[in-house]
């Protein structure tokens, strides 16, 4: 489930800045969006790694 949510997030990272934010010429536009995208990605990756165990 997290895996698919993750790929939706990556898809949005490609689409949103080129559409909704393409006219926002402020730091709170694409810059902030991509930073938030990266933070969310990292949180999801940490969650995914949390399911690992050494008996894998």
């Amino acid at each position: 489930m997290i895996f698919w949510v993750y790929f939706v997030l990556v898809f949005l990272a490609y689409v949103i800045p080129f559409t909704l934010l393409s006219g926002v010429t402020r730091i709170s536009g694409s810059f902030l969006f991509w930073v938030i995208f990266a933070v969310l990605s990292l949180i999801l990756l940490f969650k995914m790694m949390g399911t690992w165990n050494d008996e894998y």
Partner: protein, 473 residues
């Protein structure tokens, strides 16, 4: 900047790095698994810092800062999409690690060979890696050469930087393999981060008066730099062409996928990747802000790759910051090249020459006294061509190596283990990538990396569906 000061700092750096590398020899055992994987005994912090130093090359402070200077915020998106591509290491890492440990694999090519049941798969992966990573490594040397030349106002010739970087790379790889590479990488990762942070903080506070003022400056004077396509550089095709190959970097580039074989346990791997992700996020932000600062301070540059060196050379920054930043870029280059050399020599030894352990000592001698020197010489000669395209050549290597992605994803995730499909997709994809890059072909505006991924995925899918050797594992 005084030429003497630069040379003195370089000597100090080379001295301390070499001391660390020599000290790491105490642990060295004369086996390939020790030389290439440090017998799976690296501390997670060392492994994490080394992963960061290997991944982040001189491209960051020169190429990415240059891309930001040229195209704006798209560079941030491109690099953060790369960071999000660590999902492949997270999803496939445990499977690759388990296969590697269970089959005593040393190189990522061996892992792929085991997965698809044919040693040819690893052999072709090794050859494709050699073809695409030699130019990538030489670009690092090119960056170092330009850096010293620009900083010293031409007094330190291009060749000097290239020779010093090649010599140190050779020494730090040869001494103890991954042990010396990892320990020097850790030092270098620290230098890279600390120098980038200090440079950006001083630039922002001294020349703009704070973060808010820098961003306000960009919003007022370069508003299109804050959007994509913005000033026209980051069209969607360009963004996709640059970012897609790097989204798969963590599994396509053998020098980083090999690091998934190093941890002693999955717990250690989790710590290694977590440390790297935090490091990567901070380093990316800092580098992009450096590019924006350069745009605001020196708007008249013809070659964007020179944005950082020009900032260092033209502005009245404290001497220690200039020297420290120079060292940071130098470190980023060396730490990437040495890992690539180590990985390429492991692939050549294990995947091309075979996995028989009868002549382990002979093979180790071959690695240390023949392969590593020959590889060093190759990248050195390539660097003499002075190709002026740091960012584009860096991406070009990942565009070629992306041909191996369907074999990893198909084999480990979709469990379609098929040697013919793997061979066909690696070879076909690499050839397409090479031809499209050579002829500068971009059908429908798609960059070679994107075309390569499409072609190699199609080849893998078609061949695994119709090949009699195909099976679902």
């Amino acid at each position: 900047m005084s030429t003497n000061l630069i040379v003195i700092v370089l000597i100090l750096y080379a001295f301390w790095g070499s001391i660390l590398a020599f000290m790491s020899r105490r642990e060295l055992r004369h086996s390939l698994i020790d030389y290439f994987l440090a017998s799976n005994k690296l501390h997670w912090l060392t492994a994490s810092l080394s992963y960061g130093a290997t991944t982040y090359s001189a491209f960051m402070m020169l190429g990415l800062a240059g891309l930001t200077y040229r195209g704006g915020v798209g560079a941030l998106g491109f690099e953060l999409v790369y960071l999000s591509g660590l999902v492949w290491a997270v999803v496939l890492g445990p499977k690759i690690w388990k296969t590697g440990r269970g089959n005593h694999c040393v190189s990522p090519g061996e892992v792929l060979s085991v997965c698809h049941g044919s040693k040819l798969v690893g052999a072709f992966y090794a050859l494709v890696s050699l073809a695409f990573l030699i130019p990538y490594s030489s670009v690092q040397l090119t960056g170092v050469g330009y850096l010293f030349e620009t900083l010293s106002g031409g007094k330190i010739p291009y060749l000097f930087g290239v020779v010093i970087a090649t010599a140190l790379t050779f020494l730090w790889v040869e001494l103890a393999g991954l042990r010396s590479v990892a320990v020097t990488d850790s030092l270098q990762a620290g230098i890279m981060m600390a120098s980038a942070l200090s440079l950006v903080f001083i630039l922002v506070y001294r020349f703009f008066g704070g973060w808010g003022a820098l961003f306000e400056n960009i919003e007022i004077h370069y508003p299109t730099w804050l959007t994509v396509p913005g000033n026209g550089f980051f069209t969607f095709q360009t963004f996709l062409g640059l970012s897609l190959p790097w989204f798969f970097f963590s599994i396509s580039n053998p020098q980083v996928s090999q690091r998934l074989l190093v941890p002693a346990s999955l717990r250690e791997m989790r710590k290694m990747l977590t440390g790297f992700l935090v490091y990567g996020f901070i380093y990316t932000l800092i580098t992009v802000i450096l590019g924006f600062s350069a745009r605001a301070l020196i708007p008249d540059l013809k070659n964007p790759d020179l944005a950082t060196p020009t900032l260092l050379a033209r502005f009245s920054l404290p001497t220690w910051v200039v020297l420290f930043s120079t060292l940071g870029i130098f470190s980023a280059a060396i730490s990437t090249i040495d890992s690539i050399l180590l990985t390429l020599s492991s692939m050549f030894t294990r995947d091309v020459l075979g996995t028989s352990s009868k002549n382990e000592r002979q093979k180790l001698s071959l690695v240390r006294y023949v392969l590593i020197p020959v590889l060093c010489l190759s990248i050195f000669l390539f660097a003499l061509a002075r190709l002026n395209l740091i960012a584009l050549l860096s991406v070009a290597s990942s565009a070629g190596l992306i041909a191996v992605v369907p074999s990893f994803v198909g084999g480990f995730l979709l469990k379609r283990r098929n040697a013919r499909a793997a061979l066909g997709s690696i070879l076909g994809g690499a050839l397409v990538s090479f031809l499209f890059q050579l002829l500068n072909l971009k059908p429908l505006g798609l960059w070679p990396g994107v075309v390569t991924l499409i072609i190699s995925s199609l080849l893998f899918g078609i061949l695994s569906a119709f090949s009699p050797a195909g099976k679902k594992g």
